[in-house]
């Protein structure tokens, strides 16, 4: 990593929920244009990390710092972080019956990127090409947000939002879960279009390496019981695929 200001900087972050500490001192820097992956089993604290960066009010931060482009995020509410450029693709996107997709997208683009980006041909063109990229038909626009969507539709809709909102930092929480091979290919295409060749950073959270075959990470971090126990290049993901997590768990990784 160079001297440039990181997009995301996390320093010694301790996070708990209802009094139980889940993350025990996380450190992470993501530079512009970099894609990082955090890998770990269920319950290792991956979703806690994602939700904390986005600003979920249920998580209590006992110490540490999170900053975006050098600016402290911890005092900001989720919607303010979103407007600064943080985006989270949810593992379980929520349904909002009665809220039309088209209306919601326009409103969200307006609030994050400004009214001008949400108007007229500028918006229509961006919408059209992003929808093509993630194979979402026009008829989708009049459906209600995540209401009755299949698992795959929900994930593609998250990536559509990523492409339209153009965040500085994209966090993708288990975007590959529940997707078949074609689904993974489609969302990966969207992620690459949104991140590659831009100054944005991305944090991909997953417990399989499958998606990382399509979206090549620059760095891979392994999260076990709330700590990053190892960091490396893309080859670490392949190693995990072969060997599982056991060899890195406490007791087994001493002396490595």
């Amino acid at each position: 990593m160079s001297d440039t200001q990181p997009v995301l900087s996390i320093k010694d972050l301790h996070v708990g929920i209802e009094g139980n500490e889940i993350l025990h001192g996380i450190n992470l820097n993501i530079a512009p244009g970099e894609i990082h992956a955090i890998m770990g089993r269920n319950g290792s604290g991956k979703t806690t990390a994602a939700s904390t960066i986005m600003g979920h009010p249920d998580y209590e931060i006992s110490s540490g710092k999170i900053s975006l482009d050098g600016e402290d995020l911890l005092e900001l509410e989720a919607w303010e972080r979103a407007r600064k450029g943080v985006f989270l693709s949810f593992q379980y996107p929520q349904a909002v019956p009665g809220l039309q997709v088209g209306h919601f997208l326009r409103k969200s683009v307006a609030s994050i990127r400004g009214e001008d980006s949400a108007k007229g041909p500028v918006f229509r063109e961006a919408l059209k090409s992003a929808m093509e990229e993630v194979s979402i038909p026009r008829s989708f626009l009049s459906r209600y947000v995540n209401d009755g969507f299949s698992g795959g539709e929900k994930k593609r809709f998250e990536i559509l939002q990523l492409m339209l909102l153009k965040p500085k930092l994209a966090i993708l929480d288990e975007t590959d879960s529940g997707l078949d091979i074609d689904g993974i290919r489609v969302v990966s295409r969207g992620i690459n279009t949104a991140i590659r060749g831009s100054d944005s950073g991305a944090l991909i959270i997953t417990h399989y390496s499958r998606i990382l075959e399509h979206v090549k990470p620059d760095y891979v971090h392994v999260l076990i019981e709330g700590k990053i126990v190892r960091s490396g290049g893309p080859e670490l993901a392949l190693e995990l695929e072969e060997r599982g997590y056991e060899w890195l768990e406490s007791g087994n990784n001493e002396g490595e």
Partner: protein, 475 residues
């Protein structure tokens, strides 16, 4: 503003919360009755209006029925007992004439309707407008082409003067004054409201609108509306209502009767946004003849207590009823709303969709009744009621009744109660929307099946209104 007035306004705001339409004009009346009700008051109202003898008689009979009739045994009995009938002003005239030109309406009153956007809406997309201020219509107009086709759209008093036979035939024919205590009260002291007759085969494409504004303190507004759609005709009537915020209560008790003759179609849309010191106790019912259809699109946002159950009697074969309603019960409000449909004839269909939201300790109740008579074959009934509760202090109840006396009927009933989840709000916030905006999106989404039935202009207004309701709601 004098200090005492400022204090009174703040006291009112304290009692009922913020309400954007709660301003009031200085009261200047040309006739104002003393508070309280007696046979004498009833006769005086009739005399001022120079009514035919039969109308005076029916008013007097209705008055005595009102006095002797107990309060309804359901709804919010405690709140009902709190109505101080002696303190209500039963008749107040602010303008001597019903004008056809807004320029002739007294300035204060005209300004009020300007602020409410009525003249603008009229120019853009309405077929006709009647604007009622206190007891009387102050403005009334209908597009000339409709008038030329024989469409009658008048305030009710003018209707009685100009078409006494038609009024006599249908007045109290759908809702007799003995129907309930408040239909008796309305029949005794009614003033204003709309009278509409659509001739055979005429389809009125753009809606006509009535706007009801209460301005004076302790006012009682008792408009009476009668709509007759002759064979094969159709009309869409829209009403809106607002009032100033006062710390004392006002009473609004309307009666609306609809008659849809063979093959006719009446749609009646309401956006009720009374201030939270108004008792809103309204009786609305329609009769649908052969192949006719009646739709009530009923939005209840304001008032202290609303008790209103728009009803349809499916009298003719093949007739159809639809009641789509929403209720929003905020701080200090109880919305006891619902629908009634009676299937008296074969092959009749009905659909009821009721949605309510309770917030800040408000209470939303659905009260519905659907009946199928023994002779009515092959009827279809569908009832859906959904409630959304925004916090732990608020309440929702459902009182559905179905009495089906013919086994061939196909009945469907669904009910749901849901809460706004933190995860839903967080999801929307992560897309750049503040907590208030997120709530407004969820609430407007919940009401969408209702909103999409409204003319676009009303839908936009309703969404704005609900966004305002969500403001300042985050602790």
């Amino acid at each position: 503003m004098r200090e005492s007035e400022v204090m009174a306004m703040e006291e009112a705001r304290e009692a009922v919360g913020d309400y954007d339409l709660g301003w009031h004009d200085p009261e200047h009346s040309t006739i104002r009755f003393d508070s309280g009700l007696s046979e004498d008051v009833v006769r005086k109202i009739s005399a001022i209006k120079n009514e035919p003898e039969w109308m005076t008689e029916i008013r007097v009979k209705a008055y005595h029925h009102f006095v002797n009739r107990p309060m309804p045994g359901f709804g919010d009995r405690e709140a009902l007992e709190g109505i101080k009938f002696d303190e209500v002003c039963y008749y107040l005239r602010s303008s001597d004439a019903t004008e056809k030109d807004w320029d002739d309406v007294p300035d204060d009153i005209r300004n009020t309707f300007d602020r409410l956007g009525i003249p603008e809406a009229e120019q853009k997309w309405l077929s006709g407008v009647t604007a009622q201020y206190e007891s009387e219509a102050v403005y009334h107009s209908i597009r000339e082409d409709l008038e030329a086709q024989g469409v009658i759209f008048l305030d009710m008093d003018s209707g009685l003067r100009e078409y006494p036979d038609l009024v006599k035939e249908y007045f109290c024919s759908v809702i007799p004054y003995q129907d309930n205590k408040f239909s008796a009260l309305n029949t005794a002291v009614w003033s204003g409201g709309s009278f509409i007759y659509v001739p055979k085969g005429i389809k009125v494409e753009m809606p006509v609108q009535a706007y009801f504004r209460i301005n004076a303190k302790n006012m009682g507004q008792f408009e009476r509306t009668l709509i007759i759609a002759d064979e094969g005709s159709s009309i869409h009537y829209v009403e809106g209502c607002t009032a100033p915020t006062y710390s004392t209560d006002s009473l609004h008790s309307a009666v609306v009767e609809l008659i849809a003759l063979d093959g006719a179609h009446i749609r009646y849309s309401t956006i009720q946004n009374w201030s939270a010191n108004v008792y809103n106790l309204v009786t609305k019912r329609g009769i649908a003849h052969k192949d006719a259809s009646i739709e009530w699109i009923d939005g209840n946002i304001g008032s202290k207590l609303t008790m209103k159950y728009p009803s349809v009697i499916l009298k003719g074969e093949g007739s159809h009823a639809e009641v789509i309603s929403i209720a929003y019960a905020g701080k200090g409000q109880h919305q006891d709303a619902g629908a009634k449909v009676h299937h008296l004839a074969s092959n009749t269909t009905s659909k009821i969709l009721s949605k309510s939201i309770s917030k800040d300790g408000g209470r939303g109740s659905y009260r519905g009744m659907v009946t199928v008579s023994p002779k009515a074959e092959n009827c279809k009934l569908n009832v859906v009621c959904d409630a959304l509760i925004l916090d732990d202090e608020s309440q929702t109840d459902t009182y559905p009744t179905m009495e089906v006396a013919n086994a061939s009927a196909r009945c469907e009933h669904e009910a749901s109660v849901s809460k706004v989840s933190d995860d839903q709000v967080f999801y929307l916030m992560s897309r750049g929307h503040s907590e208030e905006e997120a709530l407004a999106m969820i609430v407007n989404g919940f009401f969408e099946p209702f909103t999409r039935e409204l003319p676009m202009e009303y839908a936009v207004e309703l969404n704005k209104l609900m966004a305002l309701e969500m403001e300042g709601s985050i602790g």
